[in-house]
């Protein structure tokens, strides 16, 4: 855990130094100071906070819905948040409203999907994923329609691809509050999450109020995902892959898995953002492409190298 925190610090330093303009830490002038304080640092911090929120959301969803395939993207939570955020942008609402809308959209879509999959008893894993995919594609269609029909197209287009280009201190502040709240609640409920991972019946017999705990956890994951989406669009893969990688290293116990996922998610997105900025200077490529290219081979390597569940 300490090693991960160190790596996170190093990646943020890297994120500040590298970009279209290379910063030399020994030769600071006013232009460089502006770039660092107004552009690079908030951007690196935002990437870290968003990475942490998405990874913890993924871990929470995977355990609370007892489904290893869950993440905010696949379950349509990101799409629900995006549609609501896009609506807020079209209505020219201020940023805090955009985030609030995204949060409500995310909560609404997760509740719809969960209740569809629950028809006829306990939510079945396959139904959950199918309902998520269905709602997700429906919402993507709605989003595409909004992009085409709105003349405020540019800012919404940025949501679909996912980027940290809009980072500023206000967004960092907003991300910080929701990350702190979301991770704190997830940690408080980490024992309940462990029980939920065994199944509803066993969790009930261990004294967990299953419905209440799961609702709180789903809303917490939606809060983090919604805010993340409202600030930098839909970034897939982090929420799915980071918890899995961390589970292979620290185990499935959520008391350790949640902080480990938060740190690893932060590192992954900060580094992915650095790469997205320097790989095709002066243009940027969407950070989601980088996360996929970085994450997938590493994940396959881990799966092949060790059996599931072995500790590092």
């Amino acid at each position: 855990m300490a090693a991960l925190a160190l790596v996170l610090f190093a990646s943020i330093v890297l994120g500040v130094l590298f970009g279209a303009v290379r910063i030399n830490p020994l030769d600071l002038n006013e232009a460089f100071a502006f770039i660092v304080w107004q552009l690079r640092l908030p951007r690196a911090l935002l990437a870290a906070l968003v990475g942490a929120m998405l990874a913890v959301s993924g871990a929470v969803l995977q355990s609370s819905l007892k489904n290893p395939l869950c993440d905010p993207y696949i379950l349509g939570i990101s799409a629900g948040g995006s549609v609501a955020a896009a609506a807020a942008i079209i209505l020219l609402l201020p940023m805090y409203f955009v985030s609030a809308f995204a949060f409500l959209g995310a909560v609404a879509s997760v509740l719809i999907i969960y209740n569809i999959s629950k028809i006829g008893g306990e939510a079945r894993p396959q139904t959950l994923i199918l309902a998520g995919v269905a709602i997700s594609s429906l919402l993507s269609a709605v989003l595409s329609f909004m992009v085409i029909s709105s003349d405020r197209l540019q800012p919404i287009f940025f949501w679909i691809l996912g980027s940290f280009a809009g980072a500023g201190w206000t967004s960092v502040q907003l991300a910080l509050y929701s990350a702190l709240a979301g991770i704190f609640i997830s940690l408080v409920y980490s024992k309940d999450l462990n029980a939920l991972a065994l199944g509803d019946e066993e969790a009930l017999s261990l004294g967990v109020d299953v419905v209440r705990s799961r609702n709180i956890l789903l809303i917490t994951a939606s809060l983090m995902t919604g805010v993340a989406v409202s600030l930098c669009g839909m970034i897939g893969f982090v929420g799915l892959i980071v918890p899995h990688i961390m589970r292979l290293i620290v185990g499935a116990n959520n008391t350790y898995l949640i902080p480990a996922s938060a740190l690893a998610g932060a590192v992954l997105l900060v580094l992915a953002d650095v790469i997205s900025r320097v790989i095709m200077v002066p243009s940027e490529i969407p950070v989601g492409i980088i996360t996929a290219v970085l994450g997938a081979p590493f994940f396959i390597y881990l799966l092949r190298g060790r059996g599931p569940g072995t500790r590092g």
């Binding site: 408080v188 024992k191 462990n194 065994l198 066993e202 017999s205 004294g207 967990v208």
Partner: protein
């Protein structure tokens, strides 16, 4: 200590249990037997209030269980479901520690008493040397012992078990039955398929057929060839 009073319940429109009454006192080892679909699992679920009753009530030391919260029930009754897929990534010790959940609240951590209870349960189920193993690497019999150890760590007086010996080799079946029989100051209610095992170990058997009580009494007298052939609809081999 645990009393079912005229209980009926089911899932949605489907009725499963019909007007069942019995009372279990401390220290009994009760085997619940009956053909597939007779309501054995549902009876256990009703006893820990995970299936709502349509009629009747269940009393735990005289208190209506329907009015108790989950933690209160969990402190008094533990439940071992039918053998399930072990969740990868948890160690034996972590799974057994979950049994202490009813005794700690969200903001606090496990205390010495909790660690002691977990260790004691691991000793009883002879799992001490496996405590750091990932549960997904265990055999079926070992994982079943882990879940039973978790229910012991829970510190409840009453243990409900749903087919604790299903899918196990005879050696592991006997091992689990001996473990259950050797428990001191515990009341055990367990569903069994194996009539022979139930007759050998249980102090009492409750027989179900089509959701109704079809027999109740000490194993030797309740499980006669006559009642067995009646309930399971087979003709005795003679």
């Amino acid at each position: 200590m645990l009393e079912a009073k005229n209980i009926s319940c089911g899932y949605g429109q489907k009725k499963v249990l019909n007007d069942i009454s019995f009372s279990v006192s401390e220290g009994e080892f009760v085997g619940v037997l009956g053909p597939n679909g007779s309501g054995k699992t549902t009876l256990l679920r009703a006893l820990i209030n995970t299936v709502p009753l349509s009629k009747g009530r269940i009393l735990l030391s005289g208190k209506n269980i329907g009015l108790m919260n989950r933690k209160e029930i969990a402190k008094n009754i533990s439940y071992v479901p039918q053998i399930s897929e072990p969740p990868a990534g948890f160690t034996v010790e972590e799974i057994i520690s979950m049994g202490r959940m009813p005794h700690v609240d969200a903001f606090s951590t496990y205390k010495q008493a909790d660690f002691d209870a977990v260790k004691e349960a691991m000793i009883q189920a002879r799992l001490l040397e496996l405590k750091d193993r990932d549960v997904s690497e265990l055999s079926g019999g070992e994982y079943q012992r882990v879940i039973i150890a978790r229910s012991l760590a829970q510190g409840s007086k009453i243990l409900l078990l749903d087919e604790p010996t299903a899918h196990l080799d005879i050696k592991y079946q006997i091992e689990i039955m001996e473990l259950l029989k050797g428990l001191k100051n515990k009341t055990v209610i367990a569903v069994f398929h194996d009539i022979g095992l139930a007759r050998k170990y249980c102090t009492r058997t409750i027989l179900l057929k089509n959701g109704s009580l079809a027999g109740d009494g000490p194993a030797e007298t309740a499980l006669t060839p006559q009642t067995i052939s009646n309930i399971f609809e087979i003709s005795p081999i003679s």
